[in-house]
């Protein structure tokens, strides 16, 4: 683990947890690799989108994947860089299981001068039975590196 880049923004996240909207959703840091990050979204009835079934709304999953993929860009880069999400597509493969924690893994697979390309999946226990798939891009106004 010590060979992985730890920059101040990531160290802060590991120490204090996420803030703002991520904190309101209860997002937790889980794991990381050279170009990926895993976050966890514990089940919370406040996030229900369909009261009939108890299934959480799609928005919290999108929020988690936006954050996991954003962090994955900084890990691949090896440093923090101010950037913004340009676009994000989410395919909802199946409803999340009520009561279960959702795990979201974001991966950055390509960084160009100003655009980072990301993808990811979310599951609720079995990575081979994903509930969402995402693809998106980030843009660094000042450029990456």
């Amino acid at each position: 683990m010590s060979t992985l880049p730890i920059f101040p923004e990531l160290a802060e996240l590991l120490r204090d947890g996420v803030s703002g909207h991520g904190q309101r959703l209860g997002l937790l840091y889980r794991a990381q690799g050279p170009d990926w990050v895993e976050l966890a979204l514990p089940y919370n009835p406040e996030q229900i989108g369909d009261p009939e079934s108890g299934v959480i709304a799609s928005g919290p999953i999108l929020s988690m994947m936006d954050m996991a993929t954003s962090l994955s860009v900084w890990l691949k880069l090896g440093s923090f860089c101010s950037h913004a999400t340009l676009d994000l597509r989410v395919d909802y493969l199946r409803p999340a299981t009520p009561g279960k924690t959702i795990i979201g893994r974001g991966e950055c697979y390509r960084i160009t001068r100003s655009i980072a390309f990301v993808r990811g999946q979310a599951h609720d226990g079995d990575p081979d039975d994903p509930l969402a798939h995402v693809a998106g891009t980030f843009m660094a106004l000042e450029g990456y590196k």
């Binding site: 803030s19 928005g59 936006d66 989410v90």
Partner: protein
Amino acid sequence: MTLPPYAELLGLTLDPDDETTLMMPFGDDVLGRPGFLHGGAISGLMEVAAIVALRHALADEGGGRIKPINVTVDFMRGGRDRPTFGKGVVTRLGTRVANVEATAWQDDPARPIAAARMNYLIARHD
């Protein structure tokens, strides 16, 4: 129309003059990087707005259950410290699938901060 618990988490309220426009107040609960809205909160606003628009359109045809298939969000401008509005428009309501577009804006609807396209699966009540 009653909004789901997730809409309450985002602080959403329905516009009394337009039953398909929602307002999301700025605050820590929807904050991303310092001073800006979280992209996920903006997307959440648009997803709720899309479902509200679709429920209205479906109600005119006897109602039904809605399942999200996918969403594509384009982020155009940063969301600043002021209220954000969201509105969905049903572009096609089929028997089994609905196509919906939603936008989010702050000062001027003609200058959106984000736009989204959603596909929904519909199970009609019959």
